[in-house]
Structures are given as C-alpha cells and as structure tokens.
C-alpha cells in the first residue's frame, strides 16, 4: 500500500452542520424579510441591503487581508451582519451612512475583539446605535409603504400610539384606526426595512426553529414578557406592542445570536425575560424609540454571568 493512513483523535465522524451552513440557514431565514422589505419599501430597500452586505463582506475581507489573519469571509457571518444592519435602517438612509454602520459592526465590534465568536455585543445592533447617534435625523425619518393610511408620516405605529396615549385616555379605542392588527401583521406601516412585516419574520423564525438553528426559548420568553408587562402597565395594547417596533425582528434574529446570548436553556429563558422586561420598561417609561435595541445590548453584556449561573449540574455531581 502506497497511501499513508490518516491518523486523528476520535470522533472520526462529525455532524454536517458547520458554521457556514448555519449562517447559510440564517440567510435563508432572512430572505422572506428581505423580500417583504422590497415589496413594502421598493427597490431602494433592496439596494440598501445589497450595499450593506457588500460593505460588511469587504470590511471583513480587507481586515483579514491587511492584518494577515486567516481569511474568514467564507463563514458567511459577515453576510448575515450586512443583511441585519440594512434591515435596521429606514429605506431613505443615504448609502454612505449604511456603509459607515457596516465598518463599525465588522471592524470595531467584531474584528477588534477577535472576530467571529468573540464580539461581546451584537454587531448589527451596536452599529444601529452608533448610526442612530451619528445620524439622528436620517435614522428616524421612516418612510412608508405605498397605500399606508394618511396622518402617520414621521412616526412609527409605536410613536403614534405613544403620542395618542399621552394625549387622550381613549387612545386604546382609537388604535384600530391608526394601525389595525392586519396592517401591522403584513407590514403596511412605517418603520425600518426589516421590522414592519411580522408575517415574514415569523416565517423566518419558524424556519430557524425547524432547522434546529435556534431554540424557541428566547423569542417566546422575550415576546411573552413584553406582552404581559404591557398588559400590566396598561401603556400600549399588548398585541399592538409586539407587532410594532423592532421587537419581532429583535426577538427572532438579534436576541438569538449565538455569541451574544447564553448557551444554556435556563440562561436563554433568563435572557429572554430580561430583554422583555427592559423593552417594556424602556418603551413605557422613557422617551427613546430604541427599546428593543438597548434591551438586547444590555442583556448581551450579562451573558457570561448568566451562563455561569445557569450551567447544568454534571452527572454524578461536581468533580472533587
């Protein structure tokens, strides 16, 4: 026999699910949201998404190249980040601003801390915050899908609900007029590219769960907590609360990011409930629109501690 045998430690077989196949599944799960944003906001939305993906991939490629590190763009995580950043901006955002967000996410938040697996907060959400602070006007000038009801320009359903409930106690009875549940569900209302169409987000989320990419613990506990707290606070009608703003997009695609969420099941529950509480509190008691973004980012920071406190007990007890 001329060919040498290969020798390696066991196991000699491995699951087919590799990092880039997982990322590919996330991209597939995002497609319905991408398509919905194209339908709702037009060609501009798709251009923004394409530019953002290109910006992230290029940033990652150049970083690895210039820093003489092993090339890692093939793991597709930069594509996911690129799509997510674009889904978090309004359709009217100037292109150079989304590129700025891409560089912040990939270089500052991800690569400076060691690349994939080492970022301590979600790169796309951190970019959203930096962009929000840098370009407050363009980041909040929400455009509207064709056919949206009049009288809503300049506000997302959440802010119009806010305004109403501050103004009149009967706000809740008027809600239907401003954003009926069906419009919220199919995305016919204002907001950033990816957050308006609940239907598309749910399709993506179900795909991720079926494919075993995410467990439903975080999205369900996040949404349920926000729902219940809004009910308890009486601030916003609970169903409207979870169908408007960025909560669905956040709960399904942002809060479930592996690196910045706990890996234990109990930890995921703590994380989801924490996000839910912070979101409801921020939305009810502060003036910012970024309830979901900030709540996920704050919980991101707690992940190492949550993991440590929710570790499973080993079989047979702790080793002596």
């Amino acid at each position: 026999m001329t060919k040498l045998l290969s020798v390696a430690p066991a196991p000699h077989i491995r699951s087919k699910k590799t990092t880039n196949l997982i990322m590919l599944d996330v991209i597939i799960a995002l497609l319905p949201v991408v398509v919905a944003s194209g339908i709702l906001f037009g060609l501009n939305a798709l251009v923004l998404i394409a530019v953002s993906v290109a910006g992230c991939v290029l940033s990652e490629y150049l970083w690895c190249r210039l820093m003489k590190k092993p090339q890692c763009v093939q793991d597709l995580s930069a594509v996911v980040t690129g799509i997510l950043i674009a889904l978090n901006v309004p359709a009217s955002l100037p292109i150079w601003q989304v590129l700025f967000g891409d560089v912040v996410a990939i270089i500052i938040v991800k690569q400076l801390f060691g690349g994939i697996g080492y970022n301590f907060v979600n790169p796309a959400l951190a970019a959203r915050v930096v962009m929000g602070l840098s370009f407050p006007a363009s980041m909040t000038s929400y455009t509207y899908p064709a056919g949206t009801l009049e009288g809503m320009s300049g506000a997302t359903p959440l802010s119009s609900i806010d305004a109403l409930s501050n103004a009149t106690p009967e706000a809740a009875t008027h809600l239907g007029k401003y954003a009926d549940l069906f419009s919220l569900f199919i995305g016919r209302h204002g907001g950033v590219l990816g957050e308006t169409c609940a239907l598309a987000i749910l399709i993506g989320g179900i795909y991720l769960i079926i494919r075993g990419i995410i467990k439903p613990i975080i999205p369900l506990s996040f949404l349920a907590t926000t729902f219940l707290l809004h009910y308890a606070f009486g601030s916003i009608a609970p169903l409207h609360a979870i169908l408007s703003g960025g909560i669905l997009l956040g709960a399904v695609f942002m809060a479930t990011d592996y690196t910045t969420s706990p890996y234990t099941d109990k930890g995921k529950l703590v994380f989801g409930v924490g996000c839910g509480i912070l979101t409801a509190v921020i939305r009810t008691y502060t003036n910012t629109h970024e309830g979901v973004t900030y709540s996920i980012l704050i919980m991101n920071l707690l992940v190492p501690y949550i993991n440590k406190l929710t570790r499973k007990k080993p079989y047979g007890g702790a080793a002596k």
Partner: protein
C-alpha cells in the same frame, strides 16, 4: 433504599446515522493467519508478565502472560504454533507494549491442560475468571473478575450492556442473535455466584429482533428483565446506561458499585457461560468488519492477534483506498497508523473507512452555539472547558468538572466550528492529573 443513590443527570447525546448494515451478516470464520501478534497486556491495570520466550511451542489457549496483581489479567495464545519473536508494539498512545509473534502451525490443537474450572464459592468464581484472561469486552478492558469480587458497597443489580450505540458495530447484536442461550446462562451464572438478585439488559430499540428474542427466551423470568432504550449515542456508556436502567447516578470519581450495580457487556457474559463449562480461555473475538474500503464487510470470529492488513487481504482486499482504519467505532475508535496492528481482546470492530466516510472540518473560532453542551451526556460545558484549557486556568477546569468527562466524542461531533473538543477534554484531564501529582 434507592434514595441513598444520586439521581442521574443525563444530557442530550447525539443522533448518529446508525450505519449498521452488517447486522444481518451471520458470523463467519476466515482462514487462519500465517502469524498472530498478541500483546501481553490488553487491559486497564497492572501490566501482565510474559511467561513464554522466543522459540517456545504453544497450543491454542496456552498462557503466554500472567497477571501481576489483582487488577491485571492473563493472556493466552489464540493459535497453535511457535513463538517466533517478542517485539515492542507501537500502541495508539505512543507507548510500546511487549507482544509475542506466534507463527501458526495450522493444527489449532487446544492446550491439553485446559479443564473446566471447579467453582463452588464466589471466591472460586473470581479466581477462575481471573485465569480466563477475560476483560471487559465492550471496549474499556477493565479486568472482569475485579467487578465480580465482593465490594464494600451493597450491589443489587447486574446491568448487562447490550446497547451497542456506536455506528457500524453489530458484533454484540450478532452475539445476542446467535448465542442467546449462552447470554442468558452467563447472566444466571453471574447472579448465582455473586448473590446479586436481579439483572437488567439495556438495549437500544434499533434492535427489535434481539429484544424480541431475549424476551421470548427469558419467558417472563422474575430476575432478568430487558429494558429497551431510545437509540441515542452514547446509551452504552457505562454511567449513562446505569442512569437509564436504574435511575441512579455513579457519583463523580466513583464506580458502578457506588450505584449498587455491576455492569458487564453482553459478549462478556456469553463468554462466561462458555468458560465455566469448558475452562477455555479468551482467545477469539467476534468482530464487525465494515467501511466502504473493504471488499467483504461482515461479522467474523477471529483469533486474537489477527493483523489488520492480513485481515483485509483475506476479505478480498480493498475496493477503495482506505483513508483511515479504525479499531472500534467512529465515535471512540482508535485510528491505526499501520496495518501491522493486531486485533485485541477489547476490539469489537475494524473499520476500513474511505475518504468520504471520514469527516474533516477545519478548526475555526468557537461561535458559542452550545451544541457541545447540549450533546454532552454527563452535562459538562465543553464550550467553557475549551476556553479555560486554552488559557491554562487550572482552577476553572476543576470548577467545570472536566474530570467527569467520559470522552464519548459527542462535543466534537456536534461542533460546527470543527474544534477538537474531545481531545481538549482529554488534554485538560491530563493537565489536572499532572498538576495534582506536583502537589
């Protein structure tokens, strides 16, 4: 009574492709090899001392190495012939193990000194088994007589491991199908001499015919029960199996006796029933040969020391170039560096895998997905052990209980980033042992 035991905390394990395509291949024999290479020591414990030298003539069953302490075992010749040389065999862990090369004379005469053992007490039974060369045939190779000896802890359950959870391997399944009576008699023999009251046979539910056959032959036996288990690797890992069939956990660092059990492999008990009747020592093994590189896969009864290269030749050679040759299954088996390695007492399969059957994923950054922790049957956190080991954090490794790792391979199997987690666990355990010695 049962409340004195810990509750088992068992993690997810993994679902593998069963790949048990040899399950209906009846056990066949092969031509006698020209020579066999038999290491004097196959087991875990004190090494055995050789009792033959170059030029000696041996029969089938002649003792060639003698146990040196209680946790040790004898070794016997599997052929009749002449000891042509004593060599140092390269072991998978890098060490060298003295081994006898025996050239076969083709007569296969049994050793005339072999007589059935006289057994009347538990002590007789234990010493008879010690002289049989029997060690755990499931793979770990712990000398069997040690498990049968009286323990300080009360033992009320004999657990028979028939799970056979590794992909490809069907040799235990064939033992059940072809030696059903021997299996049951072996269990009864162990119960009789150890005074243990009941036995449970743990078997994965992907072997319905074996479960049916055992139940039929047991015919409602009050003391022996078959417990079908879900097909999830590693159901056959000793601690997992004890947890599944008894609802008790072996405490960290403890033995099966600490959970009131003795665990024996199904092939081990089958051998025991034959041994108490004939006194014939352990000289052959039923081996599953599989993998897409080999021409004739199947189950074969082979003399110990049969070399892997000669085995391939006698099975029609290779139909594809073998990429990796394994002793054992793909989850825990050992990759051989040479075809000159022999079949051991602990071998239950030889896999000639072609390139397409071996997974090689480049090692990338951990993405902290937690799949290693979900898969871990003993509920450790490989994701954190990996980081702690890389950073050399000794105290953290202790906190994370890495010593409890059973090295089943689930964490590496699950890792999408291709990290060699199981190897890291082994290295971390070795590191802790080294640090412990220094103190």
């Amino acid at each position: 009574m049962s409340n004195i035991y810990l509750k088992p905390n068992i993690g997810g394990g993994i679902k593998t492709a069963g790949l048990k395509s040899t399950e209906d291949f009846k056990t066949a024999t092969l031509p006698l090899p020209k020579k066999v290479v038999i290491p004097f020591t196959h087991h875990i414990g004190a090494p055995s001392a050789p009792v033959v030298s170059k030029g000696d003539h041996v029969f089938v069953g002649t003792k060639i190495a003698s146990s040196t302490s209680f946790i040790s075992a004898d070794t016997h010749s599997s052929v009749s012939g002449t000891v042509s040389d004593i060599i140092e065999l390269h072991w998978s862990d890098g060490s060298l193990r003295p081994s006898a090369i025996i050239e076969t004379d083709g007569e296969q005469k049994p050793d005339p000194g072999i007589t059935p053992p006289e057994i009347s007490t538990r002590e007789d039974f234990v010493s008879a088994v010690q002289s049989s060369g029997l060690i755990g045939l499931g793979g770990a190779g712990f000398p069997t007589h040690v498990k049968l000896a009286k323990t300080k802890q009360p033992v009320d359950t004999l657990v028979i491991n028939a799970a056979e959870c590794e992909p490809y391997i069907t040799s235990d399944y064939r033992t059940i199908m072809e030696e059903t009576d021997e299996v049951i008699e072996g269990i009864e023999t162990v119960l009789r001499y150890t005074g243990v009251k009941k036995a449970v046979i743990g078997i994965e539910n992907n072997k319905p015919k074996a479960i049916e056959l055992l139940n039929k032959k047991l015919n409602g036996s009050p003391e022996i029960r078959v417990v079908p288990l879900k097909t999830i690797y590693p159901q056959g890992a000793e601690k997992v199996l004890i947890g599944r069939v008894t609802g008790r956990a072996v405490p960290s660092g403890g033995l099966p006796a600490d959970a009131g059990t003795i665990v024996l492999n199904v092939t081990t008990v089958s051998f025991l029933s034959k041994f108490v009747k004939t006194g014939f020592p352990l000289v052959e093994k039923r081996i599953t040969v599989d993998g897409s590189a080999i021409a004739k896969p199947g189950n074969y009864l082979l003399p110990l020391g049969y070399c892997i290269g000669e085995l391939a030749e006698n099975l029609g050679g290779y139909v594809r170039s073998p990429e990796r040759i394994l002793l054992g299954g793909p989850m825990m088996g050992i990759a051989l560096s040479s075809e000159d390695f022999p079949i051991l007492k602990t071998t239950n399969a030889v896999l000639y895998l072609s390139e397409s059957e071996v997974s090689t994923i480049p090692n990338n950054n951990c993405i902290r997905c937690g799949r290693c922790a979900y898969g871990c049957p003993v509920c450790l956190s490989p994701v954190e052990i990996d980081t702690a080991y890389e950073n050399g954090e000794i105290d953290e490794l202790k906190t994370l209980s890495v010593k409890n790792c059973i090295e089943c391979g689930c964490c590496s199997y699950n890792c999408p980033a291709g990290r060699p987690l199981t190897q890291t666990m082994k290295l971390a355990k070795a590191l802790l042992a080294k640090v412990g010695e220094k103190k």
